[in-house]
């Protein structure tokens, strides 16, 4: 059981961004991808989830053995892929509860309808666990939310939808330390042998609260270094400068071709 990415190349318009990413996230593992701005971290998240702006030019991705890239974004989500957005959209007029009901309903076999009572029990259970006020669920999704509220709403959705693989795209950006802890605790609660996580972050800070099993460094569309949690600390000390100097050119990439 794994989310397996093999030699993934992708571009937006004519500009190549991913230049051969290979990575396997097994169920139960938490991987972190770090890297400087513009290295393609967020692009990887969007390509995996099927954002229409990006075109895959080479490579494959499979989720528990099932090819992913020829599926529509909503099918990928129902297969068990979840993306916590860096900038969650505001959807005026659609309450969090109604949005999640639609998402839960979409996961039921055709012809079956959601038990509203059970849905709300589950929703309130998860909200309690995240320390959220219940009336939060009747607010329009992300509309007028603070940065912290948006990220909490993402984690609530993650908890409600229980994906097989969760991707967190810069979930720490714009969060103060208290909000960061709430979000991290929310994610830690969901970790377990059945779930894989990919945490995309610029800073090491989030990894103080969600300890990854593996850390990868991405530069110029490739993974240039992989290691354990200690790698994150090292990067925090040294910065990305020397790695960018070494791997910044698309023509030089010892690791991308072999696949780490």
């Amino acid at each position: 059981m794994s989310l397996q990415i093999c030699d993934l190349h992708a571009r937006i318009v004519e500009r190549p961004i991913l230049r051969g990413i290979s990575l396997e996230i097994r169920a139960g593992e938490t991987h972190a991808i770090m890297g400087p701005n513009g290295s393609g971290k967020s692009t990887l998240a969007k390509v995996l989830s099927g954002h229409p702006d990006y075109e895959v030019t080479q490579g494959s991705v499979s989720l528990d053995g099932v090819p992913l890239l020829d599926r529509e974004p909503d099918e990928r989500a129902r297969m068990g892929l979840f993306l916590a957005f860096q900038y969650p959209c505001e959807i005026p007029g659609v309450s969090i509860a109604n949005f999640l009901r639609a998402a839960a309903q979409a996961r039921l076999p055709e012809g079956e309808s959601l038990s509203v009572t059970e849905f709300y029990q589950k929703l309130y259970h998860e909200m309690d666990a995240l320390g959220m006020q219940r009336q939060f669920s009747s607010r329009s999704l992300n509309a007028g939310f603070s940065g912290g509220e948006k990220k909490r709403a993402e984690v609530l959705q993650l908890a409600m939808l229980r994906p097989r693989y969760g991707i967190l795209d810069e979930t720490d950006s714009g969060l103060d330390i208290d909000a960061l802890k709430v979000v991290a605790n929310g994610v830690n609660r969901l970790r377990g042998p059945e779930v894989g996580f990919l945490i995309i972050t610029h800073y090491q800070r989030l990894l103080d609260y969600i300890t990854p099993d593996f850390v990868h460094v991405m530069v110029a569309g490739r993974i240039v270094q992989s290691g354990g949690p200690e790698l994150a600390l090292e990067l925090e000390r040294r910065g990305y400068g020397s790695l960018e100097e070494r791997y910044g050119s698309p023509n030089l990439s010892p690791l991308a071709e072999t696949g780490v």
Binding site: H51, D74, R76, A77, R78, I91, V94, N98, A102, R107
Partner: protein
């Protein structure tokens, strides 16, 4: 466009009608026939019919007085008995069911009666108000046709200082595809009176029909009227609903319409702010699907100073549907310190759908605040992707957006029960 001459008087029960009409009404009717025949057919060359698909404006052989068949009668009985409010239910212009006012309301002098009954029992009141207003936003010929044919409908009269606690329900149905209906709604609120009216236009048959209704709403000094119209004609129905509301000093009115169904639906809404301090809120939420066309024309007429009008019309368009909004804010030289707002927003869900928006202003006073805006847009691709990423399929995601977009209009209503009933109804029809 086919609107044959005198088709209505040739209808099966046409001969029965004049017998029950008072002389003054009969005179109005005869004059209206002459007007109807004299007035030109709507034309695309007329600015007030710009963008309208006139091929959809047709009587299609529909006639008044079509009998109501037993199964439809049973359906309507079921619908009627589910309510509790004072109400009148008409089908094909025949009054089928009625539930009167509470004894308290009657004691206070409130009148809620079918027009024909009111015309004899409250002759002076009706004679001085009925057919006195002209909406005149383009459909004059149809308005005349209505006058010539209308006998169904209701009068609501609330005397000075009386607050009608319960809303009154009025519903007009068509049960057959060849039925025509000409409902008339007359509301007279005296000084500081208060009333709520729920109006429904609907069909029990799934095909066609022709409807031409007129609303004359008189809101006296300091009086307040809430009027909610739910329009859901069957596929194939061509309908007109022409409304004029007169607001005296410090009067206020909120009119709301939820539009669904029909083939061609034209609404003309005129708010006449005649007394200082008058206030009119005009709201509309339209769900357009298939090949439906909703043609909405509005007129915010500021005659007196210190008046306020606020219009919000929103439409969600699926498939090959079309909408037209043409609104005008008109400020007389004397209407200083007018505060007028007009907003038309359209959400397009299909490449074949078409929204036409023509906001307008004509300001002859110098100390005013008037703003208008219109938008025609599609679902934001990033918002759509967000929904898809949560596993919500495209059609369900679009439903969410439409619901969010239109319930934003419901949010402007004060009555929480109404808001949730409307939301439920919209949700059900989107399912």
């Amino acid at each position: 466009m086919d609107l044959p001459k005198r088709v209505i008087t040739e209808a099966p029960n046409g001969s029965a009608k004049p017998a029950v009409l008072p002389a003054w009404w009969k005179e109005i009717q005869d004059a209206a026939w002459i007007d109807y025949e004299r007035l030109p057919m709507p034309s695309r060359k007329d600015e007030r019919w710009r963008f309208s698909d006139l091929s959809k404006v047709a009587l299609n052989g529909c006639t008044a007085g079509v009998p109501v068949a037993a199964p439809a009668l049973a359906d309507l009985q079921g619908y009627f008995s589910s309510g509790e409010a004072p109400s009148l239910l008409f089908a094909n212009d025949a009054l089928l069911f009625s539930r009167g006012l509470s004894p308290e309301a009657r004691e206070k002098g409130v009148v809620f009666a079918p027009l024909l009954e009111a015309a004899t029992k409250e002759a002076d009141l009706l004679q001085s108000h009925l057919f006195q207003e002209r909406v005149g936003l383009g459909a004059e010929k149809l308005e005349s046709l209505h006058r010539a044919c209308a006998t169904a409908g209701a009068a609501l009269y609330v005397p000075a200082g009386v607050e009608l606690a319960e809303p009154v329900d009025l519903s007009f149905w068509m049960t057959e595809a060849h039925a025509a209906t000409f409902p008339h709604i007359l509301v007279i609120l005296q000084e500081n009176a208060r009333a709520r009216v729920h109006l429904r236009f609907s069909s029990t048959n799934p095909r066609g029909g022709f409807a031409c209704s007129v609303q004359e709403l008189f809101v006296g000094p300091g009086a307040s009227l809430d009027l909610l119209t739910h329009r859901n004609w069957a596929e194939g129905v061509c309908s007109f609903d022409l409304a004029s509301i007169r607001l005296s000093r410090d009067a206020s009115a909120t009119t709301f319409q939820l539009n669904q169904g029909g083939s061609y639906t034209r609404t003309e809404s005129r708010s006449r702010l005649l007394g200082p301090g008058a206030r009119s809120v005009m709201l509309s939420a339209t769900l357009a699907r298939g090949r439906q066309e909703f043609d909405q024309r509005s007129f915010q007429e500021h005659v007196a100073p210190d008046t306020k009008s606020d219009l919000l019309y929103k439409s969600a368009l699926y498939d090959a549907s079309r909408t037209i909004f043409a609104g005008m804010i008109d400020v007389d030289p004397a209407a200083q310190r007018t505060d007028a707002y007009q907003s038309n927003r359209n959400l397009i869900l299909s490449h074949d759908a078409e929204a036409n928006s023509l906001p307008g202003l004509e300001i002859l006073a110098n100390d005013v605040r008037c703003t208008h805006g219109s938008t025609v847009g599609q679902v934001d691709p990033e918002e759509l992707f967000y929904c898809l990423q949560r596993g919500i399929p495209l059609a369900a995601a679009q439903r969410l957006f439409v619901l969010g977009f239109l319930t934003d209009v419901f949010a402007r209503l004060e009555d929480g029960k109404i808001k949730s009933a409307l939301t439920e109804e919209l949700e059900a029809s989107l399912r």
